[in-house]
Symmetry: C2
């Protein structure tokens, strides 16, 4: 069946190539479809407001390693990644459906752990788990969640609406989940070599927590609403700042200038990067899994926004032909390169 | 991590046990949640109408065998199974999001085939594919689709609203997909033993098509609407008539009496069952994957419904304590036993 006359390997095509292929061939039949593939969530006109739909799939040994990921954390995180996609549209998630495929090596108690974690996330974020599918899977664990939310029509934020001169803002701090993963993987390697070894996670609690139990920044959506700021564009930082910045730039046909000294990095993240011989800026640009929000605002909103501790203005949008640059601490201009894979 | 103090094996618990466990522990936070787990789709109050959400996951070697399932057919069928869940609520599906996890053994051309099949289904049923997720999967192919639809508030059909005395109706004919599968698996076994063997599928085109390319009975939803019939309850027959009948009975706290001579079986299905030494009635009761609709109506709707070729009245609802019975062609009363696994 797979012996097609011409065969293009999946990895030479890449995920973006595949997304382009799919997008190119898709027709829509409903006038209610405001936005299909190409943003953090699909947008459906619902009269008074917009409905948002998104989905994410997590595959064992691709997205998580059960060697160091407790199932309860995995359940929690699998919900969070979906909620973050709705947050990125400036929306409020309310309902999820969950599909799980798992092999018999999991006991009922293990599955209970996984669902417990999901239910904790549902409790924290007031999400109704309203359905799904469980099925056996001879080969590992797969979790697929679809999320439903809504947003007021005058508050929705897309990726393709950045304007030249807009300020670029990120929430929270970046790079910690990448370093948390780094530590967990190092401890796992040591454990495999010396099974009696006790993992040394002390002093790394913040960055490990950021990896294993991220949060969806719905508090930031509420804060923006309280401040009466509607970002000109928004995306979540799940693939690394650089990759997601390229998404914003490409969708909006602009460039960006980012200032290294403005990048928000927690001291523990910074120290850990130095200890491991990793450039902290690289961890921020290419790390991924931050689940923070990145958005743009007109300069006129700066006065309102600047008092808030959780927002960092890290740069601004420029003309497309100016490209993507990082101004280093020593004031040298570097080209930013995209990395990572992305959802469609 | 899996060494819990007590360990219950997944297969001794069963899918229904797992669904009960999940349902028992779930809280809902939104007054808009009309129906969560426990029907073909979740129901969310949307003011003027209801929104329906459902999801299904298909796993290679559990739900499909690529040895005899063309990828285009698989793509088509994966959409259909979801649309059928919305049909079972008397609703109209309009949007889907699709997640696919696949290994590098698939070429781009193979993935194109899969999406082509999905897009054909989207074209036939006027569905907008508005998003999703593609990811690598070291171990086989997994497809997860979530579907969004709507239904008028006065037309929604649940599983738990059958009334004693209601007539039991099914659409189309039953059992063919099971026999189609039987033939495909037999041909595969022969092919493995004799690689030069050409599969002999002639004369079985109808039952093989029913297995590889089922349809969602949205035409029946339209017909019911045209006839101004709102079923008292409805479910889709995806797990076999017996299993789905038990779902209806258990949700509605009724029993059912079904008449063997009323079961709609296509002549090709019947003949093929006899040839293979399978009781055609067993193929209908336990086969599964029919994607037909089963519903109940008050007896007062019988005159309107009986003229329609696609509807078969196969029995009626009785008091719960009377139980579940099949009246055979020779007028002997048999207990019906549930079989199969079910979505939650």
């Amino acid at each position: 069946m797979f012996e097609n006359k011409s065969r293009t390997e999946l990895n030479e095509f890449g995920e973006f190539g595949l997304i382009n292929f799919i997008s190119k061939n898709i027709k829509t039949y409903h006038a209610s479809t405001i936005k299909g593939i190409g943003d953090d969530a699909a947008v459906i006109d619902n009269g008074d407001n917009y409905i948002l739909l998104s989905t994410d799939m997590l595959i064992e040994s691709v997205h998580f390693d059960l060697g160091y990921t407790p199932l309860k954390h995995l359940g929690y995180k699998s919900v969070i990644t979906n909620l973050s996609d709705i947050a990125a549209m400036n929306g409020t998630p309310t309902h999820i459906v969950v599909s799980i495929a798992m092999s018999n090596r999991f006991s009922i108690e293990a599955i209970e752990e996984l669902y417990d974690g999901m239910m904790v996330a549902c409790d924290v974020y007031k999400i109704d788990l309203v359905g799904g599918d469980t099925t056996s899977n001879p080969k590992g664990l797969a979790i697929s969640i679809a999320v439903y939310g809504t947003v007021a029509k005058d508050k929705i934020t897309y990726r393709n609406t950045v304007k030249e001169g807009d300020l670029l803002v990120v929430t929270g701090d970046l790079g910690a989940p990448y370093l948390g993963l780094n530590i967990l993987e190092r401890e796992k390697r040591i454990f495999i070599e010396q099974p009696n070894f006790q993992p040394e996670l002390e002093g790394n609690d913040y960055i490990i927590q950021r990896q294993l139990k991220p949060e969806a920044r719905l508090d930031m959506i509420k804060l923006l609403d309280d401040l009466k700021i509607v970002p000109s564009a928004m995306i979540d930082i799940s693939d690394g700042l650089a990759s997601d910045l390229f998404q914003l730039a490409s969708a909006s046909q602009v460039g960006f200038t980012v200032y290294e000294d403005k990048l928000p990095i927690d001291p523990q993240t910074y120290q850990r990067a130095i200890d491991l011989g990793i450039d902290p800026t690289i961890a921020v640009l290419n790390g991924g899994e931050d689940y923070e929000l990145m958005f743009t605002i007109p300069q006129s909103d700066y006065e309102t926004l600047k008092k808030e501790f959780d927002f960092s203005v890290i740069g601004h949008a420029v003309a497309k032909q100016e490209g993507m640059h990082l101004i280093s601490k020593s004031n040298i201009k570097h080209k930013i390169m995209a990395q990572g894979w992305e959802n469609y």
